[in-house]
Symmetry: D2
Subunit: 139 residues, 4 copies
């Protein structure tokens, strides 16, 4: 059985838009924070430490998708449950489910890579093979 | 041939994250702004006017997905090209392509509805059939 | 002695900018959330309820200021301590102190009003005298 | 007479909050972007280039203040006029005025430093004396 982590937050007024509901881009912000909280919960060092020690700038996105099932508004307590559902050679898939109580609000999936600065094009980033020690920490 | 609109913006310092590249949630923010600019370009009134005149609070998301192909950083000039690729009974599909010059950075798709406050549950929203006049303005 | 409330949050990766530190605009976002948490802690209803029952759209800003003393980065646990330091006829002054452990990061002050839609200019907002019941809840 | 620069933007739906007006933290985001646009207009290299060539990570804030005079909403075209009103030994003062047409919406002031990573505490930043060449470019 794979690890999971739950990130809790409360919807702020500034997270909501003139339709009185969470602005949808913020769900991806919470996915991203939940991704970090997942790695932290597995004992993986913060990106800045991985950057200093190994040149890994973080885990940028290859693709992301979400399905919006119920809206939320400010004051709501929400929980983001995160698991890694697949490890590939140079990427991995994260699944996030956002709930308010028992109600599922959003389900989403992110495909991410571990990236370093591209040595040939310092303005670009480049995927590296999944570091086995990071994978082992998360399983 | 369907209408398209191009929304231009410049990446700000605050749009970027500690990896020095655009924080990915911001691409969805730009999709959303490009959606509005698309409707404005078609002569559809702003949501607040549709809300006052017809109770339509806006065009919330059913689902959204993006594929991240190249990164961008602050100072970059980017352009979001938006088209509606499909009209369904109660939803429509928008396609966005974000470019910096000729380089495609991100491709994405949003499925949206037109929503009103649910008369039975004022805290919720409810899809209505696509208003024919709005559809006609966009074709 | 006046009431105070402490709002706790953890700095997210997406709260930080390419200088690896919190983007300064986010401190004002946290001031705003701390303002809401303060009123909630005093039993004042959420803005949407005040809007429905009394037409009060919220507590918009007249001015805001902050002094930045130490930087913070993602992963840091921070606490925002909020008090109301002055009640005037149509405005009030909120003071926020943001700390990480014992280190003060930011001190700030907001002057806010309680606002309704201006009956003469529905696109504008208008200050009302401080509602005595709201003030009483906060003292 | 000192230089000034005007940064133009259009208020997005996602810049606004449930009160239907710009969330106030976003004015500081625009101050920050206007700050960068000001330096770019003076020929000062982007922070990432100053970082690589001289270790200057950017121009973080010492303090910031704003006075909110009129609200704005999505679709509004706004212009931020930026000047440097004072140079001190290790800091400088920027003034921003945000207008919609002839209407002043917000006036603000930022005190900033030029910062490097603190050699003694790599997690911290440290002010340096104002680089004379940068100052000369801006006058």
């Amino acid at each position: 059985m794979s690890r999971s982590n739950v990130y809790h937050t409360r919807v702020a007024f500034s997270d909501c838009d003139p339709a009185q509901i969470v602005f949808y881009g913020n769900y991806f912000k919470w996915f991203d924070t939940a991704c970090f909280e997942f790695f932290w919960s597995c004992g993986v060092p913060a990106w800045r430490e991985l950057n200093e020690s190994r040149g890994i700038i973080g885990a940028p996105l290859v693709n992301a998708a979400a399905k919006f099932m119920n809206s939320a508004t400010y004051g709501d307590h929400i929980a983001v449950e995160t698991t890694i559902t697949e490890w590939r050679g140079k990427s991995f898939v994260m699944r996030h489910v956002i709930r308010r109580g028992d109600t599922v609000l959003v389900e989403g999936e992110e495909t991410r890579i571990f990236a370093i600065k591209d040595p040939d094009h310092p303005e670009r980033i480049k995927a590296i093979p999944i570091p086995p020690d990071i994978r082992a920490s998360c399983e």
